[in-house]
């Protein structure tokens, strides 16, 4: 072995030793992070990412839980678009619900937050009272209550009877049933209200003082100061509440007894998905429904973010 060869071999082992050292160093540097991350990482891979990819695959199959899935191409999506009146009904109901409930809920939340922000005494009490429905609202008990409130002989009609009005059976009339659920959603304006209150506190009062000195009316102050400065919060609430509205399930399930009736008038998208998956065991089709929901939410979120440059003002 020549000298040069020997030295080359030496550097070789030196290099591999260095590599081994730096590898051990990398392990030592990164190990604690991954140890702490491990539960989440395992959950993310096995319970979120993995299942999401599997459901994407299942959406192109005829999976029925009992037999192995057969690949059917775009058939599920085609059926949805062309041959499934219940899907169309569910889309109609869900979009109507979102379009009606979200703006109303946010309008109430903002109006009440602005009233509470005037430094009134008793703010914590009012805030608590308005927040309580948000906290309780998701439970079956409240859905049960709503069913009775709007029943033919429920509280609402008793109140109307005092004024000599004979109310319809709100829940069992397909013309009105969805609106009772919109009211239920608007009733829960408390949590966006609290976020609005926190946002309103951030607006410096001297801006309003300066505006009043210049003779700006309060409606002008609202449009020119409050709304622009609050726009990031409005945007946030709007996105979160819209996504939540798309995902609503329990009230429609309880009020309609799981059917989405009368005549599909409360057939929320998620309720239809549930019926297809766990009532009819069309798991492939239900997976396709789930992915369509993801796409709808993704498109909505993307458009909302794109729109921010026209109406949301961030601090520079």
């Amino acid at each position: 072995m020549s000298v040069s060869e020997r030295s080359a071999a030496a550097t070789g082992t030196g290099e591999s030793a260095m590599l081994a050292r730096s590898f051990r160093g990398a392990v030592r540097r990164n190990a604690p992070g991954y140890v702490f991350l491990a539960p989440w990482l395992i959950g993310f891979l096995c319970l979120t990412l993995g299942p999401a990819l599997v459901s994407l695959y299942l959406s192109f199959t005829d999976f029925d839980l009992l037999q192995a899935p057969n690949f059917v191409g775009m058939q599920n999506y085609v059926r949805m678009a062309t041959a499934d009146p219940k899907f169309i009904a569910a889309m109609r109901v869900t979009f109507l619900y979102v379009i009606l409930s979200v703006p109303l809920k946010l309008a109430f939340a903002l109006a009440v937050a602005m009233m509470l922000n005037r430094g009134l005494t008793g703010l914590p009490i009012y805030r608590a009272v308005f927040y309580l429905p948000s906290l309780l609202g998701a439970s079956v008990a409240i859905a049960v209550l709503w069913r009775q409130l709007f029943a033919a002989d429920g509280m609402i009609n008793s109140v109307l009877a005092v004024f000599g009005i004979e109310g319809p059976s709100w829940i069992s009339n397909p013309r009105y049933s969805l609106y009772t659920l919109v009211v239920l959603s608007v009733w829960q304006f408390g949590s966006p209200m609290i976020i609005f209150l926190a946002g309103l506190r951030q607006i410096p009062t001297d801006m309003y003082e300066a505006a009043s000195l210049d003779g700006a009316s309060s409606s002008r102050q609202f449009w020119k100061i409050t709304l622009p400065l609050l726009s990031p919060v409005i945007f946030f609430n709007f996105v979160i509440q819209t996504i939540e509205a798309f995902k609503a399930f329990t009230p429609a399930f309880i009020v309609s007894g799981g059917t989405g009736g009368p005549i599909n008038s409360t057939l929320f998208y998620t309720l239809y998905l549930y019926q297809e998956a766990f009532g009819n065991f069309r798991m492939g089709y239900a997976s396709a429904l789930a992915w369509v929901l993801v796409i709808i939410i993704a498109i909505f979120t993307a458009f909302s973010f794109l729109s921010t440059r026209y109406w949301v003002h961030y601090d520079e």
Partner: protein, 291 residues
């Protein structure tokens, strides 16, 4: 002029006292309307069954009786005490898992340096927006293959893997606010990351841990979809499922009993609300929770 200069946001009136009185009237009326349905349910649960539809909209029962409570309690084959115990167990175990797993991940994201941290963090944030329906069916198949259907495991075990990224996000925000000098000093003294986590970070984070625990408990308690899918044996029912069976079995014939059980099912949430209101409201205000 000087009067106007003291005007507070939205207060353009010349009569601040009148305006404030008007606001109070309006807010009190609104509070009444907001609480009316809940009070009506409470009143309904105290009405005798014969009073079925006679009560109308009034809050004051013609005759007060608590009979609906024991009747409702034993109204199904399995009594509600069983459902309450089940819900309490599931919610407590789920809460424990959520807080434990989320705080571990949040500590890694907020404090430890490791390869790929930003990548995983971005993915974690991405899952916040993902509707759970998209993982629903494969998860169901997974739990079916594990033999977990008709047990509580699908409702509890995922929480020990921090599947609800919301809580991680909440805690990361809080951990980032803890002065770094504290853990750097501890590191100098040779403290391991594990020791820093449970000797420094956790004790300083009690408010956020409590907030996460409270929301986790309430959300699990109110969860209807999970138990609906995974639990079919009535002995394993949660309160929410028990209420739903009650609706199905009784229709509108014993609505005072239904109301009584509904009122009871809300009491735990109401108590949490009473005692931890400040934490709930701060949690929402600082992170913007959905409900």
């Amino acid at each position: 002029m000087s009067d106007e200069a003291r005007v507070l946001p939205g207060q353009g009136s010349d009569h601040p006292y009148l305006r404030s009185a008007l606001s109070h009237c309006l807010l009190m009326a609104a509070s009444f309307v907001m609480l009316y349905p809940i009070l009506w349910m409470l009143a309904g649960s105290l009405r005798p069954a014969e009073d079925l539809f006679g009560g109308g909209a009034s809050l004051i029962p013609s005759q007060v009786t608590v009979n609906a409570y024991p009747q409702g309690w034993f109204g199904l084959q399995v009594n509600f005490g069983h459902f309450f115990l089940n819900s309490l167990l599931i919610s407590s175990l789920a809460t424990l898992g959520n807080v434990f797993a989320a705080s571990l991940a949040a500590y890694a994201f907020a404090r430890l340096k490791f390869f790929g941290r930003n990548f995983w963090f971005a993915l974690m944030l991405g899952t916040l927006m993902l509707p759970y329906h998209v993982t629903l069916i494969p998860q169901y198949v997974l739990f079916l293959n594990l033999g977990w259907i008709n047990t509580w495991l699908p409702l509890i075990v995922p929480k020990y893997f921090a599947v609800d990224a919301f809580f991680i996000f909440l805690m990361v925000q809080f951990f980032r606010g803890i002065p770094r000098e504290l853990d750097e000093a501890a590191q100098m003294d040779g403290c391991s990351p594990w020791r820093i986590y449970y000797k420094i970070i956790l004790p300083l984070s009690l408010p956020v841990l409590a907030t996460a625990a409270i929301f986790s408990f309430i959300w699990t308690w109110e969860d209807f979809f999970g138990p609906l899918i995974y639990v079919s044996d009535m002995n394993l029912y949660t309160v929410q499922l028990g209420l739903r069976s009650f609706v199905d079995s009784s229709g509108t014939s014993s609505w005072n009993e239904l109301f009584a059980m509904s009122v009871l099912s809300l009491i735990p949430i109401f108590l949490i609300f009473l005692f931890f209101q400040r934490l709930l409201i701060e949690g929402i205000a600082t992170t913007g929770m959905k409900r």
